[in-house]
Symmetry: C2
Subunit: 203 residues, 2 copies
């Protein structure tokens, strides 16, 4: 058996999350899935919170890289938003993993740096660039948390049990709205708010 290292622990954690979800992740079950005594994990990782923080930053690795698309300014900001969403979606429960961590880590910072830079390049005044960039970030996080929540709900029908469908009489707007969304690709739903948020950028 190859000896474990930190990277293997992270990879094992992602594999576990893919299969069972973040809520099921425990140090002991992770250790078992890696074929190791659970005490061993604490050699590679300070504690469970540190593991989660590492996963969060891992999620964002490469998101802020240059893409060669040549996108500039507000187009680059839009591109970054799409790349952030893709990164969060690349692992089950990705958005919740990131939302659960308060930490300023390299890849999180690199994303902020790139997003603010894009806003500046779009002509946003220096005093507003952070606001524009962070607003986009908030939107993406909120969107994907909801998106992945829907995936989890679909995966586990039992969670919806006893609740039934939405009462069209009490909530006609929601009822009709959800019907609309069901006919629409997620990408288009995502683009809707993003476009409007970025439209004002650089004017």
């Amino acid at each position: 058996m190859a000896r474990l290292d930190r990277a293997a622990v992270l990879a094992g954690a992602w594999a576990f999350i893919e299969e069972h979800g973040i809520d099921a992740l425990t140090m002991r079950k992770l250790a078992t899935s890696l074929g190791v005594n659970h005490g061993t994990l604490y050699w590679h990782v300070d504690n469970k919170q540190a593991l989660t923080d590492a996963l969060a930053d891992d999620l964002l690795s490469g998101v802020a890289d240059e893409t060669g698309s040549g996108a500039q300014g507000s187009d680059r900001l839009t591109e970054l938003a799409h790349r952030l969403r893709s990164a969060l979606l690349s692992h089950r429960d990705g958005a919740r993993v990131l939302a659960g961590t308060f930490v300023r880590q390299p890849n999180t910072l690199a994303f902020g740096e790139a997003a603010i830079g894009a806003a500046l390049a779009a002509g946003v005044p220096a005093a507003e660039a952070v606001l524009a960039a962070f607003s986009v970030q908030y939107y993406v996080m909120g969107f994907v948390i909801e998106e992945q929540a829907a995936y989890e709900l679909a995966r586990d029908e039992s969670r919806n049990n006893g609740r039934g469908p939405i009462d069209a009489a009490s909530y006609p707007n929601v009822y009709a709205g959800l019907a609309t969304l069901r006919k629409m690709p997620r990408d288009s739903q995502f683009a809707y708010g993003l476009t409007r948020l970025v439209a004002e950028t650089g004017r």
Copy 2:
């Protein structure tokens, strides 16, 4: 000792969260704080997840009510966004409590109903009203999650240990941006993205 009921359990849970945060909440400690054997809680509440779901809906109670402000259309949508943020901020870790629950509950639905209604009244085409309303919701959730994360970080300096301040040389935009934000009221930061998101609504 007055007998417990479901409302008292919820109130006790909020009091506990106010003092120790959501991560510290356990059924056993909550029971102790209520002066009751921990098995007792399961008489009032199905399990911990059901308790959390109930807290989440409790958080949103009254948010979608009429305010008598007479705000209509996009103004009403803006008002709802502010009221949602206030509700999330009204309890420690409020945004995370809500984000952790997948459930469609009465007050969540009532908020969506009101927000879509406001978008429609603002002249948004029926096919887009959900998108406009939900986009605002995503933004608010993302914003307040970050906002409350900052409060938690300030409360527990130890979590930031060994990290130090942001490296101005590596992340000049972030460094300058955070300085800008520090001089700005949270309300103004919140309004920035919200205004831009709602500006396109009803055009």
